[in-house]
Symmetry: C2
DNA sequence: ATTATCTATAGATCTATAGATAATGC
DNA sequence: ATTATCTATAGATCTATAGATAATGC
């Protein structure tokens, strides 16, 4: 099992302002960050994978960006694929956590769906940890990354659940549960695609609100209820 | 300028049933198709790029799949990037053509939008020529492929135009024209992502109809009008 | 003569391993 | 002794060029 915090070792408390003595051979070009090295590697790898894809990013580029020589990566990760796996895991986990927390609120279906779309969209717009849509990565298949697709299915399940509940109580109306589940799920994810390009043109809060509004209106029996639902959903 | 039909040379009419004599050195492994070679190369390249990305597909793989030796590709295309460019161009062109044709119908905004979403979705679901979402390809940037992004902007413009017209006449209502334009455009495109995985679970006609329904409901002032609009939109 | 292919290969990567080395820790 | 790094490099690609060759066309 892969944990998202790579460095599991107990860290001694670090007196503030004091430069910690680093054991091991010093780096050739010493541009260190405070972050644990494995996390720094993941951060730069994530950015590079997002910008150039998995196959399009070389281990040398990752190492350079992290201030290491290329072979030093393999001290922290068995191979390039394991770097990718760790990056991918970090990406979905927060959404799963959100869904777990939400379950305890026991909101009515419409409010729950609004909150889910809004959170999902906002998270994708703002979180530095986001890799991108899985469809940007042909190497991210069900066979190679079952744990990722499993988590993703949990998210889909949440959408499907709220839609089904809402329909049962007559607040939602739609054609085909499966297709609508996929469409609403994709709606948030699709934001990623265009939002990245014009980060500064839009406020992420407004993008998230507008997306949730639009998603809800699309399935509500009485679309004008959307403003009430928005109010009931509370702040971010 | 790159034309989508690569082989522009005049072809002599070919008597049916007669095997045309092929000039040039015969292939090592002779698994020829009737298709012009350049088009065959594009067809297999498109499939491979979709499945494995640009950087993840080698020219050897393309050549193998087309029944040629690797260096023979460069008889038809200057380099790997030009193969990609041709594939990409073939992908958007049909949608542009559709939009041009639609302009002549002069439909009211709601019908026009319905037809656009429905066609876009159906096209993406069924057309073998589809490469995938541009966001699957980090190498497809505005700098490297301005002609592609130009065509894509024309599609966005069509969405924006219908939405603005509809709002002016009071049939549509929404928060923010720009965001909604992007969302509806992405809606059709997002279909691609999940539809590919379960091709057999869904009928593309139903996917296209359901997507157009949902998209329209999301912006209609009176969502129940959607069934009328669907009727007015005619058959596929 | 022209064309479509081939074989051979240069030169540039790219991933991962082996083993040395320069720190701290005890 | 342990750790984090380094250098050197093997071995496997991968793209594209050079130049030969096996067909048809005239």
């Amino acid at each position: 099992m892969l944990s998202s915090t790579v460095n599991g070792m107990a860290k001694k408390a670090q007196p503030i302002g004091q430069t910690k003595p680093r054991i091991g051979r010093p780096r050739a070009s010493a541009n260190e960050t405070d972050q644990p090295v494995a996390e720094e590697i993941l951060a730069v790898a994530r950015r590079l994978f997002r910008e150039k894809g998995f196959a399009g990013t070389s281990t040398r580029e990752i190492a350079d960006a992290a201030g290491l020589r290329q072979p030093s990566l393999f001290h922290y990760f068995k191979n390039k694929k394991e770097i990718f796996r760790a990056v991918v895991t970090d990406t979905v986990e927060p959404v799963i956590t959100f869904i777990r927390t939400e379950a305890e609120r026991d909101d009515p279906a419409d409010v729950a769906l609004y909150r889910l779309v809004r959170h999902d969209t906002y998270h994708l717009c703002t979180n530095e940890n986001v890799l991108g849509s899985p469809f940007q990565f042909p190497e991210l298949t069900e066979e190679s990354h079952p744990e990722f697709w499993g988590m993703r299915d949990q998210i889909t399940d949440a959408y499907r659940h709220h839609l089904r509940e809402g329909e049962k109580h007559g607040v939602f109306v739609f054609n085909n549960l499966e297709i609508v589940t996929q469409l609403l799920f994709s709606l948030g994810e699709s934001t990623l695609a265009w939002y990245q390009k014009d980060r500064d043109r839009f406020d992420p809060h407004q993008v998230a609100d507008t997306t949730a509004d639009l998603g809800l209106r699309a399935v509500l029996t009485h679309p004008r209820r959307v403003s009430t639902i928005r109010r009931q959903s509370g702040a971010f």
